[in-house]
């Protein structure tokens, strides 16, 4: 995960600069890593909401700039808030570069993705994803598994009403249920991503042999 920070655009992130960034986030390295991921996720959401087509790249550019400032000796009390400020500058620069405001769907150039391009590949990936999903789902604690299935499964009727009933049954508010479902889904998503990576590695290995 942390390797994503090594991506660079304007400035090369050195190991020392990255260490300094982590130190600024937390003295405990594990917690620093978590905080780093959290800031990065916020930055991605920010750039995504502001119309970036490369939110992850922009997030990494922002982090690089923050790391650079720290290396230059700038005292930063709150990395998260500081990162947001830097992100806003980067966004303005990007928009200035484009010479226009964020584009709406109707005006935006065609995305590079091609949805129907390779049906076989898509199906293969879909099957692998489904398999990983089943494995990861089975690895969740039983209560989480039941909650996530109940929350997301397709049913007849209005979903929001069903979720209210689910929240009542669990004796929690709808917002609390929503948060819990979101957390479990994120956990599941991480597991599926790792599983797919492993699956791809296995496939490559089979091809090599």
């Amino acid at each position: 995960m942390l390797r994503s920070a090594a991506r660079k655009k304007d400035w090369t992130l050195t190991k020392e600069a990255f260490e300094r960034l982590l130190d600024s986030l937390d003295a405990n390295r594990e917690r620093a890593g978590e905080k780093y991921e959290n800031v990065r996720r916020k930055l991605i959401e920010f750039f995504e909401a502001r119309g970036s087509n490369s939110p992850a790249d922009h997030a990494d550019q922002t982090i690089n700039r923050v790391a650079k400032r720290l290396e230059e000796g700038e005292g930063v009390k709150d990395i998260s808030a500081y990162s947001y400020g830097v992100a806003r500058f980067l966004l303005k620069e990007t928009l200035r570069g484009r010479g226009k405001e964020p584009l709406t769907l109707d005006l935006a150039p065609a995305p590079l993705i091609v949805t129907d391009e390779n049906e076989d590949e898509r199906r293969h990936l879909e099957e692998a994803r489904l398999k990983c999903f089943e494995v990861c789902l089975s690895n969740l604690p039983a209560a989480s598994r039941v909650l996530i299935i109940e929350y997301y499964r397709e049913e007849k009727g209005i979903k929001i009403e069903q979720r209210k009933r689910q929240a009542d049954a669990l004796n929690m508010s709808l917002n609390a249920l929503r948060l819990r479902a979101c957390r479990i889904r994120a956990e599941l998503g991480d597991c599926i991503t790792s599983c797919l990576d492993r699956s791809r590695e296995d496939t490559k290995s089979v091809i090599r042999h």
């Binding site: 916020k42 065609a110 129907d116 089943e134 299935i149 209005i158 917002n175 957390r183």
Partner: protein, 340 residues
């Protein structure tokens, strides 16, 4: 409490691009400063995508979602992922064997969720043990029910896969036959309810009508569309969707045009945009070209629809190619199809 509600509402409006610049900045500052607010923001976002993927988002919200939220490619991917996730969860909800036995490390699975539960009994007072036992009994009863459903579900899945393969083959044959139909009467080939008509308009291929019993996991209704000819007075052809139809696949047939990418917009006759797919590629067969688009059946209501196919030229500008017209009729699996 009101503040909590306000925050969730603000998040939704932020995601739909309905906040002013200042409001956006305030919201962003808030979630950058407070992790719990960021978590709530993510939850609202998940719910919004989920609602759209299910077709629960309607009216102006849906329009805003498509125009603003779906403006970037990463977000379009999120919606696709959400659809896949809903399908997978729905399948898993009736497939406990898939959940529990396809695990590459079965031992780990066995210990991962049974052992902690059994350890709860060892360390809790009697009243807790009773409560836990009751809870577990309920879970067990549910699981047994699910196991019973699994066998029939697996058989259904195999049947659907087989039907899907047959459908694709038939669809390909039909497409070949329909590319240059100018002077042909295709009514005998289509096999639809309007079998006495001889026209050049879209002919639905009602794969889902072949199903005879019980709900199945993925029901695809497929429709091969030829360009709409305004001189045809017979009205649109129908695509019949049963309540258990989950996906619709539209295949837009057109005469030879040279574009590298295509853009498909689906609208109601009233002009409400239902779907916008970009960057599609055309498939070519011996006789011509077609562009296919697959989407959730829940997006379609019982009404008429217009589909516009545009080509994206080298300057990334849209060029209109053809319009297509069809009617959606929603029916229950038991209902009888009445010829129009």
């Amino acid at each position: 409490m009101e503040q909590i509600h306000d925050y969730e509402d603000a998040c939704a409006r932020y995601l739909l691009g309905e906040l002013s610049e200042q409001e956006q900045t305030e919201l962003e500052e808030a979630y950058f400063a407070d992790d719990s607010l960021f978590e709530r923001f993510l939850a609202v976002k998940d719910d919004l995508i989920d609602a759209y993927a299910r077709g629960d988002l309607t009216g102006p919200s849906r329009e805003r979602f498509e125009q603003h939220f779906l403006a970037s490619e990463p977000r379009q991917q999120r919606v696709e992922e959400a659809r896949g996730f809903i399908r997978a969860v729905t399948a898993a909800s009736t497939n406990p064997a898939a959940v529990n036995t396809n695990n590459p490390a079965p031992a780990a699975t066995t210990t991962s969720w049974w052992q902690p539960i059994s350890s709860l009994f060892a360390s809790r007072p009697l009243i807790w043990q009773a409560a836990l036992a009751a809870g577990l009994l309920m879970a067990l009863a549910g699981s047994l029910l699910l196991v019973r459903q699994f066998q029939s579900r697996r058989a259904e899945r195999e049947r659907v896969q087989s039907e899907e393969a047959t459908r694709r083959k038939q669809e390909e044959e039909l497409r070949r036959a329909q590319v240059f139909p100018a002077n042909e009467d295709r009514s005998d080939r289509v096999g639809n309810k309007a079998s006495n008509e001889s026209d050049k308009r879209p002919q639905p291929k009602i794969a889902n009508n072949k199903q005879t019993s019980g709900p199945v996991p993925t029901q695809v209704a497929s429709l091969v569309l030829l360009p709409f000819n305004s001189r045809d007075a017979g009205g649109p052809k129908s695509l019949t969707l049963r309540s258990d139809t989950t996906e619709v696949r539209l295949q837009l047939v057109f005469k030879e045009e040279s574009f590298s990418r295509y853009d498909v917009v689906l609208r109601t006759v009233g002009g409400e945009q239902v779907l916008h797919r970009r960057g599609l590629k055309a498939a070519t067969n011996g006789a011509g070209k077609s562009v296919s688009v697959t989407f959730d059946a829940s997006l379609l209501r019982h009404q008429d629809y217009l589909v516009t196919l545009n080509g994206i030229n080298a300057q990334k500008q849209l060029e209109a190619i053809d319009d297509y017209y069809f009617r959606v009729e929603r029916t229950t699996p038991q209902s009888t199809i009445t010829p129009r």
